[in-house]
Assembly symmetry: C2
Homo-oligomer: 326 residues x 2
């Protein structure tokens, strides 16, 4: 199986820069947290500050950018109710092409409104029909389906996060560091791993999952993909982390990821409150798991400089309030 | 009167880079807000993400960096209960020198704790005695007093914000833009103005004040510094904006600032909620006034690309909660 590598990461960034310039993903800085422990200084990578509120626009923009112009002009389609839908809607608007997002009836009105505010057509369906409907739309209109993670172009887009981390660690004179990345379908950690493997080979890459959706931890230890039923995976409030790796992303994870740690729901909530109360960042539960791991799983993590990728910030205000009230 | 200019801004950045490298201020990006109006796209400059939670570390680090080594080793001292105290404490820790912060008895415990957590010695005094006590400490110990704004070295440090805005606007191909900056003592807007005047001469620089602390608007229109009593200026909840320009900063403001707009307390609260709910950023009231102006004073502002400097993020969690509950 062909894995994404450092050259693909560089090529993805070059494509994004050439086609989009500053309309592409924001180059997010590493933010030092002065309140972190001295023997393991924490740096946050705030992907929550991307225009759609999550790292997902990197993959969505890149997967759209690599289409030939004629194909691209026929539009793009996605099925998701979360950050991927918003990212694909953002990509469609950026390229000025027709965009359809297939969303379950049950999706919160705010998420539907977010996609609509980015000019996407929103098609509401039963949950079980999402994928089939998206594929039918693609077949009928010639639009291209942009998958949330099971795609080399999407993974290559996410890998630009890893390039930036490697460059910013090098600027700090840090070669050995621990990089914490949330795992759901595995697109982000696959890309980050591919980039870091060559650009910062002495970093340790550690995935983070909610204890209630720790299928990848179990899979990594078993050496094969272990399936957790949806009913089990969706117990966590980190609604962005209920996916499972595909064959493609699992192969990346086996190759590039050193370990996976888990965090409890309480720890996720505490981390949301800490990020907003001390670091100036609004994180959604999925985006806060890495900070939760830093704060509550230090015994399982190496000492030294630690990078926590804050993957997204699209949180319900009521949930943010309850974390702040702590 | 000698004003800070573009060359001073470049020199300040060079000094910070040479002495501190990545331990200096974070180079914050411009964050596009997709939800903004198309004919006046909004870009946020999130200085709230600096390590001490505000732009103030730029001035404090630079004013400390320009001291000769022997003077610097005797330490630094500041009187303030807010972001300047935190910034000076951070600068002291960064340079590894003795640091004293003189704080009124009445300061919230969290602010005292923040300074202490950065290893500063905190001296509690009566409000009226702050300045005299800080000067006595400086005289007795040989420490250098770092003023919050009335200092060329501090203004030059803040001017690096303007350099970055100019560079990032140029990268976007934008030459005409409106830049919104909060005004209190005027150190930030003086520095930003000095940098933009040469680096982006077609930008318009507009200050923002709370309606309840609009002394600088009145002063600018009168053509001379108008004094508002402390009791009037402190009615606003934007506790970082209750200062008044000095002769030095007022001369910068007269030279570089095109206009000053004001915002109400309600508008500030709404902007805090918007920044956290939509943009992923925690802003304190003083940091939210520019976004409030963008959202509620569009009739008084030019069309086109608008940059809002989010100057700080040190907000009481309870206040953030009430804005989110809005």
């Amino acid at each position: 199986m062909q894995l994404i590598n450092h050259a693909d990461a560089l090529a993805a960034r070059e494509t994004l820069t050439r086609l989009l310039g500053t309309a592409g993903p924001v180059r997010t800085p590493l933010l030092p947290v002065p309140e972190s422990e001295r023997e393991r200084p924490l740096l946050l990578k705030p992907e929550s500050l991307q225009p759609s509120g999550a790292f997902k626009i990197r993959g969505a923009l890149h997967a759209t950018a690599v289409l030939d112009e004629r194909t691209r002009s026929r539009g793009i389609v996605a099925y998701s109710s979360g950050n991927h839908a918003r990212a694909v809607a953002y990509a469609g608007r950026t390229f000025g092409i027709p965009t359809t997002v297939v969303v379950p009836h049950t999706a919160p009105a705010t998420k539907v409104a977010a996609a609509r505010s980015l000019d996407a057509e929103v098609v509401l369906v039963e949950v079980a029909e999402r994928e089939a409907r998206a594929e039918r739309i693609a077949a009928e209109t010639g639009a291209t389906l942009i998958p949330p993670f099971d795609s080399p172009a999407v993974i290559a887009g996410q890998s630009t996060v890893g390039l930036e981390i490697a460059e910013d660690l090098e600027a700090r004179g840090v070669s050995e560091a621990t990089v914490l990345v949330p795992i759901s379908g595995g697109g982000l950690i696959s890309g980050v791993g591919a980039a870091l493997a060559e650009a910062a080979p002495r970093t340790r890459l550690i995935g983070v999952e909610p204890l209630l959706a720790a299928d990848t931890r179990e899979s990594l230890h078993a050496g094969r993909r272990v399936d957790w039923p949806v009913s089990a995976r969706t117990r966590t409030e980190a609604d962005g982390l209920t996916g499972q790796p595909s064959e493609l992303t699992f192969e990346h994870i086996r190759t590039f990821v050193d370990d996976v740690v888990t965090v409890t729901e309480e720890e996720i909530g505490e981390a949301i409150g800490h990020l907003a109360g001390t670091c100036g960042l609004v994180a959604e539960p999925s985006g806060a798991v890495t900070t939760a791991a830093y704060r509550h799983r230090s015994a399982e993590l190496p000492a030294g400089t630690t990078v926590a990728v804050v993957s997204g910030g699209n949180i319900d205000p009521g949930r943010l309030i309850s974390s702040l009230a702590g």
